[in-house]
């Protein structure tokens, strides 16, 4: 069953547009949503949550159309834009007291168990929480109302390496039972190397690729060669950088001929992101 099914989302702004954004997330998996700043990650997430008026496309969550079943589905979605950034001078306790009334499946026991697990003291004010703790607090809220799909916009940005690692471990634990699915956007690709099952890559409002992580990386090759070799493959490269030894460039695996003698390696997610951004820059 699909936890999230995004089809042909289109949203046109004067200076930016989401074009035909489609991807699917299977229930029980983690999908990393990557793209540079301004690539359209947050716009896509806001479109999924029905916060923007779409110019086209459809979002289905847990099999239901989001536009038609917004209220019902919001009971089953937990989301966080960074950490909690609302009523920061209020205590967590006060905020939770207000929020829990909105959720029919709210469970106090679950809430307190997550608070103790995340080492959160509910008498603290939001403003006193570190960035990592704010993310954990929003996770505790989402999980206590029984969210089946977590949509997190850059939950790891601004966290130190230890807190990030900790959070990624939590993500992986959450999906183990196959009930909860997570979509999280980030520009920190190492997070995804650690915990994502699927990768969706957005660049300039278009989905470049959405697939299983290893398959995603295997579908590209990072080439390393001399300037002569560059001329052989230049037309087929996504983009390249010249250096004193020759060049490095990214190519789609199907466009690469292994018998050409050019050194090829599997790129990291970061390298894929960088070379695509370079291609976009060259076209502008």
């Amino acid at each position: 069953m699909l936890a999230l099914d995004v089809r042909n989302l289109t949203k046109v702004y004067p200076n930016f547009q989401l074009r035909d954004v489609s991807f699917q997330l299977e229930k029980g998996y983690i999908m990393g949503f990557i793209g540079a700043n301004g690539a359209g990650k947050t716009t896509t997430i806001k479109s999924i949550l029905n916060m923007l008026h779409l110019d086209g496309g459809e979002v289905r969550i847990l099999g239901k159309n989001m536009a038609e079943h917004e209220l019902e589905l919001k009971q089953e979605i937990g989301f966080a834009f960074g950490g909690i950034d609302f009523y920061t001078r209020s205590k967590m306790k006060t905020l939770t007291d207000v929020m829990k009334r909105f959720y029919t499946h709210w469970n106090d026991d679950t809430y307190y168990s997550y608070l103790s697990r995340f080492k959160l003291d509910e008498n603290k004010k939001i403003v006193e929480l570190s960035t990592g703790m704010r993310v954990k607090y929003s996770l505790a809220l989402a999980l206590s109302h029984g969210a089946k799909l977590l949509i997190l916009d850059e939950p790891t940005s601004g966290l130190d390496p230890v807190a990030r690692d900790d959070l990624l471990d939590i993500f992986q634990e959450l999906v183990v039972d196959g009930e909860i699915s997570i979509l999280f956007s980030t520009h920190i690709t190492s997070d995804l190397e650690k915990c994502a099952d699927f990768i969706t890559f957005i660049e300039n409002g278009r989905i470049i690729h959405s697939s299983e992580k290893e398959e995603f990386k295997e579908s590209y090759r990072l080439l390393n060669g001399s300037e002569d070799q560059l001329n052989q493959v230049k037309d087929r490269l996504i983009s390249f950088k010249k250096n004193s030894f020759g060049f490095t460039g990214l190519i789609r695996s199907q466009d690469f001929d292994p018998s050409s003698g050019i050194k090829a390696a599997t790129p990291s997610l970061e390298e894929i992101m960088i070379y695509f951004a370079k291609m976009e820059a060259a076209h502008v």
Binding site: K46, M51, F79, F86, M99, F102
Partner: protein
């Protein structure tokens, strides 16, 4: 809707603003003053502060994330403001009763705080609501222009009403003269004011909802 209302009262509205009616209402005890001003303090102090608070605390995004509908969001927010408005006028009315007994021989140049005057206050607040909410819900965060326009409209009404009250001997008689002792006249002016208040707030709600539906949450 009830949950949203409680959310605003618990998180968004500082308890100070619930005490304010008691403090500002006491201005009714100033003898022979322009009593429209007592109600206007609500527009000048409470409203800007409350709206600034909602914006500073990122309330729009917070509320949108929860399972609530846009019409309910508008209904709850307007209810909070209407509750405060009624609290302000109600407390001022009670103070007004004391004013009339405290200074029995005072000659009122401006409207005296009889029931009919409160009808005019309800109309003033009705005009305020009619401008404030529909303009505010074009964006759901820009409260400045909406407030300025709404305050200006309410002030224009108060100035004209008070001017007519002084210039026209008929109106003056109705509110301060012999009409002041006629309970039927006073009550019907108040009732008319309340009807206008309810009708215009309801119209403001309908327009606000239609406009808010078009707002994209940023």
């Amino acid at each position: 809707m009830y949950n949203l209302l409680m959310k605003d009262l618990k998180l968004g509205v500082n308890p100070m603003f619930l005490v304010m009616p008691l403090l500002m209402g006491a201005l009714m005890l100033v003898p022979g003053w322009i009593y429209f001003i007592v109600v206007m303090y609500f527009f000048w102090i409470t409203i800007p502060n409350i709206f600034a608070q909602f914006r500073a605390q990122n309330d729009l995004l917070f509320t949108t994330m929860m399972p609530v509908t846009k019409p309910d969001m508008v209904k709850a927010r307007m209810s909070v403001i209407v509750i405060l408005e009624i609290l302000h006028i109600g407390t001022a009315m009670i103070y007004g009763l004391f004013t009339i007994r405290l200074y029995p021989d005072l000659t009122y140049y401006f409207f005296a705080p009889h029931l009919g005057f409160w009808g005019l206050c309800f109309i003033m607040v009705a005009i305020f609501n009619l401008f404030l909410f529909p303009m505010y819900y074009k964006t759901a965060y820009k409260y400045g222009p909406a407030q300025m326009t709404a305050i200006a409209a309410a002030v224009v009404f108060a100035v004209i009403a008070q001017w007519v009250g002084i210039q026209s001997s008929y109106v003056s008689d109705l509110f301060n003269g012999s009409g002041a002792d006629n309970a039927a006249i006073q009550t019907s002016i108040l009732a008319a004011g309340i009807v206008i208040f309810v009708a215009s707030t309801w119209i403001a709600y309908r327009i606000s909802v239609a406009r808010f539906q078009r707002v994209e949450i940023q």
